[in-house]
């Protein structure tokens, strides 16, 4: 066995133990440990990705050398390694981009706790990506939820406390359903390892026995994870949680936490049940309908919003809708498009949150639209970055969002019933996206008129040198977006290749 094959396990363990370590360190030390751990996990995932791309085959890593039906397993293929690497990159950039706010907005004595949460969150994300055991996945889903709740409530205002309570309630409903679904499936198959469950499920599907419990179990798990990843109409907690938490938290929550659950759902579809059986159960139709409704309703809410952070948060609801619509198409192309959109949305949404914080810094820390007038001139880099993010979300060519919309429409093409609704929803949603994102971009590039000055919050000019960390993060984000938009072919091939071997 090559030494590289140990790396997924090492990266999970490293981030797990760095959590308690950060607890005993002071804020500065904890921050350094956190950045080092994210970088190390990213490097290890990169090495694993190079290794699995070389062999072309996924490999199974048995924990503690207990063989298949008894032991716990990690299974690593191209897709898992890529997602782990990508999550680490986004998390690192979000943490760097929001480092100033972490110092200013959080209490001095609680800053190291923030890094405890981030380390544990990284651990749970990596474990969700790599694990091959359904119950382990459930446990890490809960760790993910708890640390995400910590990320929201660490900035102690009334809003964040209320938001984290709402978040916990919704999340717990979701995990209750997920747990029940897993128990049903365990009861039906007698296994907890995903590959073993799939063998048994195939037998059950062939014989036609226990059809209804199987569908119920799949439905429970899908609905549970959909609630947890804030699919419309389960999004009530989301705007406050993203809108009032500190910048890094908002970026990480929107781009990574909800995506961890989506990765698990893909795993359940492909590795636990088998996508052919999922398609036959019609669960995909339900996801399709909710996805379409989410795409449109999320954007409508965003248009009515007068707070820039909440607007970006509502846009997340719409984007989650896109991802579920891709699953709902019930084809491999649809799922590839969804995974590509997971990547796109993670890269763009974290960019938007960090850029928005740069813009509001230049506008006297006000989140209201009126105060943002001309902010693009006061903070040039943040303005440019926000424009890039907006164009990517709207789906302009050369930016990343265009490719995922193209993939969605290609996947829908030739579909008997779902082609028309998909294309219409994509069109409407694009127009709505354009309405609220372009409204903001125009607003930040409107020069302030004389006499208007008094009504606005006191803004100030911020140069790129003044906030070096944020500027570096923003530039990296912009390049990442252009890379995804201009050079998408290798990534799409990688996702397709990974998905084939995913089951």
């Amino acid at each position: 066995m090559a030494f590289v094959q140990n790396f997924p396990f090492f990266s999970i363990l490293l981030s797990l133990f760095s959590g308690p370590l950060a607890f005993v360190l002071n804020a500065k030390g904890a921050r350094r440990v956190n950045l080092a751990v994210i970088t190390a996990a990213g490097c290890m995932s990169g090495a694993v990705l190079a290794y699995v791309l070389g062999t072309g085959e996924p490999y199974v890593y048995t924990m503690g050398h207990f063989p298949a039906p008894w032991g716990n397993e990690i299974r690593v293929g191209v897709l898992e390694a890529f997602l782990a690497l990508f999550f680490c990159v986004i998390m690192l950039l979000s943490m760097v981009g929001g480092s100033l706010e972490q110092k200013l907005e959080l209490e001095e004595s609680k800053q190291n706790l923030y890094y405890v949460m981030v380390n544990l969150l990284l651990c749970s994300l990596l474990a969700l990506v790599y694990t091959n055991d359904l119950f382990t996945a459930y446990v890490f889903v809960e760790i993910n939820t708890i640390s995400a709740c910590g990320l929201i409530m660490i900035k102690q205002t009334g809003r964040t406390m209320e938001a984290s309570t709402r978040y916990m309630i919704m999340s717990l409903l979701g995990s209750g359903l997920l747990l029940l679904g897993i128990c049903f499936l365990y009861d039906l198959t007698g296994h907890l390892l995903m590959s073993n469950i799939k063998e048994q499920v195939q037998l059950l599907a062939e014989s036609g026995a226990y059809h209804i419990p199987l569908v119920v179990s799949l439905g429970l798990m899908s609905v549970g994870l959909a609630i947890k990843s804030a699919l419309y109409p389960f999004h009530a907690w989301l705007p406050d949680a993203y809108g009032y938490s500190t910048v890094s938290s908002a970026a990480i929550l929107s781009s990574l936490v909800s995506k961890g659950y989506i990765v698990l759902l893909i795993k359940i579809f492909y590795r636990v049940i088998g996508f052919d059986i999922v398609r036959e159960t019609k669960v995909v139709h339900v996801l399709f309908v909710f996805g379409i409704i989410g795409m449109i309703m999320g954007s409508l809410h965003a248009i009515g919003e007068n707070n820039i952070r909440r607007m970006i948060a509502f846009s997340s609801v719409a984007q989650i809708g896109y991802i579920y619509m891709g699953f709902g198409l019930g084809t491999a192309e649809g799922v590839v498009a969804s995974i590509y959109h997971v990547v796109t949305h993670a890269a763009t949404k974290s960019l938007l949150f960090v850029a928005a914080s740069g813009i509001t810094d230049a506008s006297g820390d006000s989140l209201r639209y009126r105060d943002l007038t001309g902010a693009g001139y006061r903070n040039k880099l943040a303005g440019a970055a926000f424009t890039v993010g907006s164009l990517a979300m709207v789906g302009m060519p050369i930016f990343s969002g265009f490719i995922s919309k193209l993939l969605f429409s290609q996947a829908a093409f030739g579909h008997r019933y779902k082609m028309l609704p998909t294309l219409v929803a994509l069109a409407i949603s694009t127009v709505l996206n354009a309405v609220y994102f372009m409204k903001t971009v125009i607003r930040i590039y409107t020069p302030v008129e004389e006499g208007q000055q008094e009504e606005m919050a006191q803004g100030r000019v911020i140069t790129a040198r003044e906030q070096p960390a944020k500027s570096v993060a923003l530039v990296c984000f912009i390049f990442l977006n252009l890379l995804l938009g201009l050079n998408s072919e290798p990534l799409i091939r990688l996702i397709g290749q990974g998905l084939e071997k995913f089951g």
């Binding site: 809960e142 708890i146 309570t165 409903l173």
Partner: protein, 125 residues
Amino acid sequence: MDFHNLLNNYGEAVAMLLFGIGFSNLLLQKNLIKKIIGLNIMDTATYLFLALKGYIHGRKAPIAADGVRNVEAYINPIPSGLVLTGIVVSVSVTALMLSLTIRLYRRYHTLDLDEISTLLKKEGK
């Protein structure tokens, strides 16, 4: 209608009923403490379900006592292990929810989440 299966598996049926009660309490109650009670009922119902599924009639708990090594003598230990893990998870989640509730109550002197939202809007922050 054939109630034979339902009567044979009455334990599972009770577990599902309890799950429904807990779930709807967690979702619909306004009072935060009642929500947390709902959460615990929901989780416990799942554990009841698991424990029932692991039980094999006439066998004993899987603790090797009195030198009995025969597998046939014991029930399936895995569901019990899952229940234990689940209990740990639900205890920590309950603790977190309770601490949040205490925080909110100290600040707003109410346990009603909707009322807290109204107060927040009045604060206008």
